[in-house]
Subunit: 353 residues, 4 copies
């Protein structure tokens, strides 16, 4: 039973159906297919504004390309220290930008706070001897499974814009944040100051499909050259556009995320009943971070449950794992069932006894 990540499962049948349906006949290559234009229009409708959209096969590429459109080689990118762009992309943003510097900032549960961002931006700099603050990269759902509200996002982007920064939102699990929020896609993004969103479908039911959505269309000016040159323009673009078509149709993307979030909520509720385990911070989407004794962790792994150990930095002081406790990440997907959750909870209960 796999709680390791939401990328170990395949695609939703509806997404597969859409790939199959788009396979017949000749179609313009290199992203000029009508399906892609339809997806761009549909995303514009969903986000209630005119957008420029580039479809990509990976989130790592989408993030790097988006950041490069707002960050020169001598620029500085600010993000949480657990951000995917900081820790999991093997220096991808550095490559896309030609060597920009990423400055990691702390924040409990993966969320940046205005005071920390403000302090970083107001710290003394030495003119051209220092790199130049250029962009803020947020993640929603955060890497810790927490969510920013529109107000929280606004508070951060206001500071960023005051200092002339562009704002990038890594939305690998944006849909999980969206369905848990009392807010529209627009409110969670451009209405809160986001300039470009990398909307991930892959982790939420697609096979390999991400959309860079430019709300600030001027930022997209160089994006098409960057994508081509980076080798990310698929000749048979229908592979990407068809996935988005199937994913967006009939609110399927929302349904998938609701399923994953519900599984995570059920799991969280069960964990709260356990004496030997506790949640490291609130669960706002489909990820849980559980503090447990190492002995429990080992027993569960030995039984074949899959999940990963996590670093402690984002746990609040006073709540950090102590003694032999460890922090572990659990991710639910649109394929996670109640039965799976219950089976894990039963095993966890026994393992902690």
């Amino acid at each position: 039973m796999h709680f390791g990540s939401d990328n170990v499962v395949g695609a939703s049948p509806k997404v597969i159906d859409a790939i199959v349906a788009a396979n017949g006949g000749a179609m313009a290559s290199y992203g000029d297919d009508d399906l892609a234009k339809g997806v761009e229009k549909q995303l514009g409708d969903i986000f209630e504004t005119d957008v420029s959209v580039l479809l990509m096969a990976t989130g790592t590429a989408a993030n790097g390309l988006a950041l490069a459109c707002m960050t020169p080689a001598w620029g500085e990118i600010f993000c949480h220290h657990d951000a995917h762009v900081m820790t999991d992309e093997c220096g991808g943003p550095e490559q896309w930008t030609g060597g920009a510097k990423i400055t990691p900032l702390p924040g409990v549960g993966g969320k940046l706070t205005p005071d920390v961002l403000k302090a970083a931006l107001e710290a003394p700099r030495r003119g051209i001897h220092s790199v130049k603050p250029a962009s803020l990269s947020l993640t929603n759902l955060t890497e810790c499974g927490t969510a920013y509200t529109p107000d929280e996002t606004k508070a951060l982007t206001a500071i960023a814009k005051h200092h002339g920064l562009g704002v990038h939102l890594d939305g690998a699990r944006f849909t999980n944040a969206l369905v848990g929020a009392k807010a529209t896609p627009a409110e969670l993004t451009w209405k809160s100051g986001v300039d470009v969103l990398c909307l991930g479908a892959t982790k939420n039911g697609a096979l390999a499909a991400e959309a860079i959505i430019f709300f600030d269309k001027a930022l997209a000016e160089t994006a098409h050259y960057r994508r081509m040159r980076g080798g990310h323009l698929l000749s048979k673009g229908r592979l990407l556009s068809s996935q988005f078509k199937g994913w967006l149709a009939d609110d399927h993307w929302l349904t998938l995320a609701r399923t994953a979030n519900a599984a995570a909520a059920r799991l969280a509720a069960g964990i709260r009943q356990q004496n030997a385990m506790r949640l490291a911070w609130p669960v706002n989407g489909n990820e849980l971070f559980i503090v447990m004794p190492e002995s429990t962790e080992q027993k569960l792994l030995a039984q074949g449950f899959k999940f990963y150990r996590w670093r402690h930095e984002a746990v609040a002081d006073g709540e950090k794992p102590t003694g032999d406790e460890v922090l572990c990440r659990f991710v639910c997907s649109w394929q996670t069932t109640d039965a799976m959750v219950d089976q894990f909870l039963a095993a966890a209960s026994k393992a902690s006894a």
Copy 2:
């Protein structure tokens, strides 16, 4: 009717079936799936040697990454002036290598000859003031639809190796060359001095699937970091490995290429019957380059036939288009039928009258 490229059609049903078949259940992410290991083994069998394989979604990315493994930032890459890496990748190899220089060389019908390569490598250089010769990039099937024999390849790679160069083979249409050759995959590649092959499945029946095959496995040492960092490691790797599984099974890849080549041969035979048209050079695969009057070209385009105008540099002196003649490229795919070819030939005959 589309003779514009072999990437305007979708994937072969067998490839689609393989994607669908691989969609169920949990599978290791980021290329560690068993399917990928199977593909690596199968390619090793086909090429009769131990290989390192990285699966990629685009040929532009595969070429750039492969070249970067053998070319430092101050390196020089030699290739034909019509090579895809030179003219169609928006500077992709330059990005992957950190700024290497590509030196284009002439050659009739897209093929380099030993004398030209030798002269380029023996030209005086100025030590560190000049970029350093680092790699030879060949294409087979060439961009002009001609093919290198193993002996021709060997003659070029021997010169390259004498000067310490690595040898890259862009095989976007390698299968079309293979089925037209009296040679094995091994003879066309490592037995003829090729260090790394970018084997394209996309143009020959897949949706988006390319394999970088390192025959010199030491060259692959940095490749995994480069792929990750470039954003080219798909989290759901099964999308790529399943396509290769379906494509390679039961010699399906060969069948597809034979179909496309047969269509091209039929088209070529018909063109040879036409007074007002002629082939610019031999047809060895699924591409034809036809010299015709501009008025004929315009009539055919007006009737909805799709094909592209091409540059003249690779036409031999004495055979170049003259007067109002133009050079046009036609590509057949595994979906091109005899009926399509015959319909075009009839129209061409009429348009030239």
Copy 3:
């Protein structure tokens, strides 16, 4: 006796004196010294317009930085095939720009002509699949020792600007061109469409001093970050600014160039008297390119005269070296005396006999 290059001699005593004179006392570091401001003002006066100036230690760095300010990583730079940026900088512009492509163009005697540039810019491109034309790099005095007139420059920059290109002028020997021209510094540069000039002092009497002069001051916006990051901002900036101060004072820079040009003219006159030697093209500055029998070349080298063999591409058809003839470059400097020239001519006469 050294005709190999104008960089094998040291600096003019007046330049050395200026370095010594500026050595005392505390002075703002990192280019903020008053001397530097004075040089910027003086260059503005000389060029009759407001300019942004960055002082650099090498011409290779100046060229690369200047081109990077007008050429994105996916940009295309057009220049003569003998241009220093193309052949002698080990890929420097590629590094500064993040991987731009340099397209070399032909031209007799090192000079581009409007028809060649026009054809290059009007050749069919494939949108984002091709690199994007971004800049024209001219050299005056050219690498072949010829000079562009303002009208010739204007004809080229007009085409460049029509296609949206920036114009860079490599002026490693600009002063040699200037003193030979019936034109002002302004007429040779911004009044003829040049956006940025790299004015070299090193070859003409300094030790290591080049000025990037931005006539289009908007282009300079990113230059200071690029210089710092490239490690080209000297902490004791007075080393560069003092050289320029001494070099510009009392028209010393013009005097130095006139001396070198006069030596070259004397040498050229002598060569025209020789039966076995001929000039490959006109001599407009301090460089000569002489066609001579290889046997003569070998005798002169054996006697200790220093000069270099050169490639033939820029020689006009019909005038190229034939049989055992070779093309050799001779450079005169501000230290070349009449006696040196006459000694060489006597030896040449004897060697050809």
Copy 4:
């Protein structure tokens, strides 16, 4: 009176004399002059081993180039959070390496400790998703004016080497560390595990002269290409080699550093007598970091004394500036006299009263 930096003064007269002496006559260009060979030999003698030496005009360039020889684009560089390569080079190392990541580590008084380095290297990584640990960059004299002993250096480099890292030593003020240490140049460098030293002469009496000294000569293999391509190979190399000749002759470099260190020691002794001021950490060279009330700082600045405010991170817990205290950096140079020091101390005493 300027305590701002040791780069606001000019060069020692002996260095200027050497520049002047080397100015006459023809000399091989581009670093092939005999002076450069002599400097390489002399540095080999001083460091008691065979070395490869590249002379450079700036320390920022030297550091970046040296790090690039041991750090791939996907590499990770570890250094102190106050290191020049981290905070003062506008992303220079990122440019030279093609986008490596620099990980800053804490340490009181600018010095790394084994436990911190070990923890950083033993922290869990995610294979190719993480950047790859590649190099350790130390600074001696540190940016905080403290010095590593050979034993301290050895303890750090042993950990680095255990993890396969290369070791770079930024020696912008290496001579100041050397003359304060009971150790030889060899003991402070390669005998303690340093692979490459960037030896700065600029701050200690030259105008612009740094030497990259490769103890691991294999690391130098690519260095000459990198220097050329970066625009850092001076055509009149004598400018750099002559400075080193004058600087090294008769132990002049040691004499200069001793003078600067003595001034700093005198200043430190005076500060220790002041009630309202204290030293943040030991003074091992020519830099002092003084904690003082902001009001005192303001009075001293108003009187024309020059020095800079500094960040607090490297101050030990319990000793950090409190209330209205600030931390200020003072640098003595080879031109700082006892009279200057005493004048400042008198003013400081009065300002604190």
